[in-house]
Symmetry: C2
Subunit: 106 residues, 2 copies
Amino acid sequence: MRRDIFQAIADPTRRAIIALLAMQAMTPNGIAEHFDTTRQAISKHLRILTECELLKQEHQGREIFYHLEIQKMKEIDKWLEQFRKLWETRFDQLDDVLSNLQKNKK
Amino acid sequence: MRRDIFQAIADPTRRAIIALLAMQAMTPNGIAEHFDTTRQAISKHLRILTECELLKQEHQGREIFYHLEIQKMKEIDKWLEQFRKLWETRFDQLDDVLSNLQKNKK
DNA sequence: AATTTGCGAAAACAAACGGTTGCATATATA
DNA sequence: TATATATGCAACCGTTTGTTTTCGCAAATT
């Protein structure tokens, strides 16, 4: 079973859950209220997110609060890093083109 | 058919293709040589990546060069933005803790 | 003109995914 | 103790995914 962070954020519901939990820790029932599916479906998403360590559980009586492990999100940022330089460079090149156009106007 | 950039980068082969094409434009056969699958499998990945506008084709005779539309990658960065503030804040808090520990040492 | 090469598209298939239903377990409450 | 609540887990189901195989087409080569 493939279970990495990229597969985790591929699902729009899971991305919404991540965004929700970025604000505050919540219980499965609390989370499920925000969506149009069953609690069990949400529970499955929570399991996937927990398995790739994007979420952590905090048991509190019979309730389980899930909170976001924000540090894990940096893995995506890290992967993106190799491209960031590239698209910034292209931007610089575009800037060059634009300033040249400006020059030629004069 | 869901076809967004998050689903596109969910597959490790597709991520590898993206990384490859970040260096230089390549043909399907050229790309396939780097992997342990058939050209047709790669071709399907290329179709998916092209459909969500991560790649663009450049026909050259009977060859087709695929090149990365690096700007599209910024969409991931854009989504990540809402969390970046968060994890940087947590870092600042950690810095505070560390500097307090330093103070107490004195 | 015939053949080779580079490519995409369709069909087929096992595996994975996302969802629902039903049930088991643990904690709170009457 | 009996009941209600919060949750996880297994079984099942239809759909999607990733791959291979086969085919067809267009451009290059002979």
